[in-house]
C-alpha cells in the first residue's frame, strides 16, 4: 500500500543501503546487556543522517532509550560499534557540546532560575554569566520564554518547564539533539503546541534530532523518518520515511495523509510487537 507523502514504507529491510543524506553516526551490530542480565539491545543497526528528524518508536522496554543513551555516550555498548562521521569526530575532539539531551522530565535545578538553568551547560564549560547571556537569551527566545528568565522552576507550568529544558539543550547550539520522550508527561494540548514549536526550532537551527517516543501520532507528525523498535531484545524492525517537505501543521494533523501514515505506522508497530 502506498500512501501519499510517504516515500517508502519498508519492513525487515536492515541493514539498509544509505543512499540519501550523509550519515552523522552509525550503529552497527550494537548490543547492550546490563549487569542484572537484561539484554536491552541486540544486533541494532541504525544510522542517523545529517539534518533529519528521526523518531525511535516502540513499546516500553524495547531499548529505544538505551539506544539514545548510547548515542549520547552516557553508556557504552556491550558489543558492536558506534561510528561518528569524521567531521563530527574532529569536532568532538575540540569541544564537547555538539550534543544536546532532553529528558522525559524537565530535569531542572530547582535552586536556579530559568536563566541559571539554561546557563548550566555553558557554565560547566567555563563560560561566565555575562559572556553567555546572548546565547542564553537566544535559546529562551527560541522557546518563547525570554520574559521568564528570572522565574524559578516551581513557578512554571509543566509545558514551560519542558521549554526551559529544551532551551538548555539548545544553548550550546548542538549539531545533534537527543530527546527521550520529552512530551510524554504533558497534556495533549500542550504537547501539540510544543510539537509545532519543536519543528520550528528544528527548521530554524537545521540540527539533527533523534526523538524517542511511544506515540505513533507524535512520531508521524514530527519525523522525517521513523524507526520502529521491537522488544526483547531491542532492535529496529521497520523503517518508515515521511517526506520532510510535507508541511506540518493542524491541516496536516487532520488530513487523510496523516491518518494513512498513522495507520501504516501502527501496523508496523503491531507487527514489531508480534514478532517472535
Amino acid at each position: 500500500m502506498r500512501v501519499p507523502g510517504m516515500n517508502a514504507a519498508t519492513l525487515d529491510l536492515l541493514p539498509r543501503a544509505e543512499a540519501d543524506g550523509a550519515p552523522l553516526l552509525r550503529l552497527s551490530g550494537v548490543g547492550k546487556r546490563f549487569a542484572n542480565g537484561v539484554t536491552a539491545l541486540e544486533g541494532l543497526d541504525m544510522a542517523v543522517r545529517e539534518g533529519e528528524f528521526v523518531s525511535l518508536l516502540g513499546p516500553s522496554g524495547c531499548g529505544k532509550s538505551t539506544a539514545l543513551r548510547l548515542i549520547a555516550g552516557l553508556t557504552e555498548p556491550s558489543e558492536g560499534r558506534l561510528d561518528w562521521d569524521e567531521d563530527e569526530t574532529a569536532r568532538r575532539g575540540r569541544e564537547r557540546h555538539s550534543i544536546g539531551f532532553v529528558f522525559q522530565d524537565p530535569t531542572l535545578m530547582p535552586w536556579a532560575s530559568v536563566f541559571g538553568n539554561v546557563h548550566l551547560p555553558l557554565k560547566l564549560a567555563g563560560v561566565g554569566r555575562r559572556e553567555a547571556e546572548p546565547a542564553i537569551m537566544e535559546a529562551l527566545e527560541l522557546v518563547g520564554l525570554a520574559a521568564f528568565r528570572d522565574a524559578y522552576p516551581r513557578e512554571l507550568s509543566g509545558g514551560m518547564k519542558m521549554r526551559v529544558s529544551i532551551a538548555r539543550a539548545l544553548v550550546t547550539k548542538p549539531r545533534l539533539l537527543l530527546m527521550d520522550e520529552p512530551f510524554a508527561a504533558l497534556d495533549e494540548i500542550t504537547r501539540f503546541k510544543l510539537n509545532n514549536d519543536l519543528l520550528d526550532v528544528w527548521r530554524r537551527l537545521r540540527c539533527t534530532i533523534v526523538f524517542v517516543t511511544h506515540s505513533v501520532f507524535e512520531s508521524v507528525y514530527l519525523s522525517s523518518r521513523i524507526l520502529v523498535f521491537r522488544a526483547r531484545p531491542g532492535r529496529v524492525s521497520a523503517e518508515l520515511v515521511i517526506d520532510p517537505n510535507q508541511p506540518r501543521d493542524e491541516t496536516f494533523r487532520t488530513s487523510p495523509e496523516y491518518a494513512g501514515l498513522c495507520r501504516e505506522t501502527s501496523l508496523a508497530l503491531a507487527r514489531a510487537m508480534d514478532a517472535p
Binding site: W111, L124, R154
Partner: protein, 260 residues
C-alpha cells in the same frame, strides 16, 4: 487560615489559659512555693535572680552553639567523605551509629573523668548534635537527580563542579533539616552534660542551677531556670528556622507559603 490572626492568637490563648489554671490551682489549694510556686512568684524570682540566671543562660547557650558549630563542621565534612568513598562510609558509619544510640547521660560520667568540665559538657552536646547533621547530609548528597547527574556528565563537568553545583545544592534542604534537629539535641546534650557535671559539684550553666535549686528546695528558682532553658531552645529553633527560610524560600517546597 494561614494569614488569619487566629493562627497566632489561638496558641497564645491556650498558653495563657494553662498559666491561669496553674495560678488558680496554687491559689485555691493554698500550695506553698516549695511545692508549687505560682506563675507570678516564678516571674518574681526570674527578675530577682536575673544576674545569676542570665549568666548561666549565656553559659548554656554558648556551649550549645559551639557544640552545634562543631557538629555542623564534623557532620558535613564526614558526610562529604562518605559521599566520595563508599569504603569510608562502610568503615565509619557503624561508629557514628554507636555514638548516636549510646545514651549520652551514660557517657557523660566517663567524659568527666578524662576531660575538664567545660570540655566534657561540650563533647556531650556535640555527640548528640553530630548524628542528625551527618545522616541528613549523607542522605541529601545521595539524593541527586540521576538525570541531572547525566546532564552534568554530558556537559563534561569536573568532579568539583558536580560537587559544588549539583550535590551540595541538592543536599542543602536535607542538611538544614538535620541542623534544626541538631539544634534542639545540642541543647539537650549540654543540659545532660551540665547535670552530670553539676552532680560532681561544678559548672554554672542553667541545668546546674536547676540541680542546685532542687537541692536547696528553691523551687521558684528551679522553675525560672527551666523557663530560661525552654526559651533558649525556642531561640535556637527560631534562629535555625529563619536561616532555613532565608536560604530555601525561593525554591524549596518545604518553605513555600510557610510564612508569607
Amino acid at each position: 487560615m494561614s494569614t488569619s490572626p487566629l493562627r497566632w492568637l489561638l496558641p497564645f490563648g491556650v498558653l495563657a489559659a494553662l498559666i491561669l489554671a496553674w495560678a488558680a490551682v496554687v491559689k485555691l489549694n493554698n500550695l506553698p512555693p516549695y511545692v508549687l510556686p505560682a506563675p507570678g512568684k516564678v516571674l518574681e524570682t526570674l527578675i530577682e535572680d536575673r544576674a545569676v540566671l542570665f549568666a548561666s543562660m549565656l553559659v548554656t547557650l554558648k556551649t550549645t552553639v559551639i557544640a552545634l558549630l562543631l557538629a555542623v563542621a564534623g557532620g558535613a565534612a564526614l558526610a562529604l567523605l562518605f559521599a566520595s568513598a563508599r569504603i569510608v562510609e562502610f568503615s565509619l558509619f557503624p561508629i557514628a551509629v554507636i555514638l548516636q544510640v549510646t545514651p549520652v547521660i551514660a557517657v557523660a560520667p566517663l567524659m568527666l573523668i578524662y576531660l575538664s568540665t567545660d570540655a566534657a559538657v561540650l563533647v556531650c552536646a556535640w555527640i548528640v548534635a553530630f548524628f542528625p547533621v551527618l545522616s541528613n547530609t549523607t542522605l541529601g548528597l545521595k539524593s541527586v537527580d540521576p538525570n541531572l547527574r547525566d546532564l552534568f556528565r554530558l556537559s563534561g563537568a569536573t568532579r568539583w563542579q558536580t560537587l559544588a553545583q549539583l550535590k551540595l545544592p541538592t543536599a542543602l534542604p536535607y542538611f538544614l533539616g538535620g541542623l534544626r534537629i541538631a539544634g534542639g539535641l545540642a541543647l539537650i546534650g549540654a543540659v545532660v552534660g551540665e547535670i552530670a557535671a553539676g552532680s560532681a559539684g561544678q559548672g554554672s550553666g542553667l541545668a546546674f542551677r536547676i540541680v542546685e535549686s532542687a537541692y536547696r528546695l528553691n523551687i521558684p528558682r528551679l522553675f525560672a531556670a527551666l523557663l530560661l532553658i525552654s526559651l533558649t531552645g525556642i531561640l535556637i529553633y527560631a534562629g535555625l528556622s529563619l536561616l532555613s527560610w532565608l536560604v530555601l524560600r525561593r525554591w524549596h517546597e518545604s518553605e513555600l507559603g510557610g510564612r508569607a
